[in-house]
Amino acid sequence: MNRITLSILLLFMLVLGIYVPSWVSDEAAQKTPSVDESLRPNYQAHNMRSTFYNAEGELNHLVYAKKMEHYQLLGFTLFETPQYTIFVENQAEPWQLDAEEGTLYENEIIRLEHEVEIRTLSNKGYVQTIKTEFLEVNLKDRTMMSDQPVEITGQNFVIKSKGFTANLETQQYELKDHVQTVYAPY
């Protein structure tokens, strides 16, 4: 450790001492604006209508919403009075989902809230409507679930339950906390 290396070391320390604080503060300065940015929607639309097809080019689902806001950084889209129309394989008529609010995550999971109603557009379907306050739908595998009270009505029955899971494609419903089913007299 002769004098020359010592002096280079000292010089190096000096340089670091001057510049490092400014580098750190720059970075900090950069971060604060991006946090605000993610709170502002990247784009929004009114009376929005969009159509989605699957890989085979078949109609997958339609979305209509009075208002839509997409938040790229946060990874979700907010809808006001969304209406989803979901087309299901080998079922002639699609299902229609309405709600006051909706949040779509990565174009796959849609959470619908407040006055959620699912309706089949075929009057022959065994299940005609499903009503609840909260519903989560996986648009890819067409499964859905709720942990809120739900009312399922068919041609001549009404089922009440706390929560349910269902698959729109297989038409299988599971009510773990079933309350009561009523079959109307004929």
Binding site: G125, Y126, V127, Q155, N156, F157, I159, S161, T170, Q171, Q172, Y173, E174, L175, K176, D177, H178, V179, Q180, T181, V182, Y183, A184, P185, Y186
Partner: protein, 156 residues
């Protein structure tokens, strides 16, 4: 009574699993079916609604499944079996396995019993295996009473 059959059918149970395509449901855990005075208690009830509205078939299974109903004349009918099938449309009860039906003091114990609920009449009873005979136990006072009923029925 007869008016029971114009009432809605209420099913209570812990869970319910149903299939919209095959139109069948399975209710499990503390299942009870009520329709007017008709009351069936079971561990599991399968409902087949394929034939359409008002033509549902309820299959109650239990250890045993228990059916009770009050008749227009106030008499109570009770039945027990491993499986009780209630066909809504033709108002028939089919008891299968350790079947027991008691009405007006008489009781039939056998393997299977078919009972018409509207007419309160036994249609068939029987045993595949021969050992268990059909046993009908009558309390004495009932026999005279039944005779008069039959005569009245004859006159109507």
């Amino acid at each position: 009574g007869k008016d029971d059959f114009n009432q809605p059918i209420f099913i209570d149970s812990k869970s319910n699993f149903f299939d919209g395509k095959t139109k069948t449901s399975v209710f499990r855990e503390d299942v009870s079916i009520k329709q007017g005075t008709l009351d069936i208690k079971a561990d599991e009830v399968e409902v087949i609604a394929l034939a359409g509205d008002g033509k549902e078939i309820f299959i109650a299974r239990g250890k045993p499944a228990i059916y009770t109903q009050k008749m227009d004349d106030g008499e109570k009918i009770t039945a027990k079996a491993d499986e009780i099938k209630y066909e809504v449309e033709n108002r028939t009860l089919t008891l299968e396995g350790n079947a027991e039906l008691s009405q007006k003091g008489s009781m039939v114990k056998t393997q299977s019993i078919v009972f018409n609920m509207a007419l309160q009449q036994l249609i068939a009873e029987g045993n595949e295996n021969e050992e268990g005979r059909v046993r009908t136990v009558f309390q004495p006072n009932v026999i005279k009473q039944d005779k008069n009923n039959n005569e009245q029925k004859g006159k109507q």
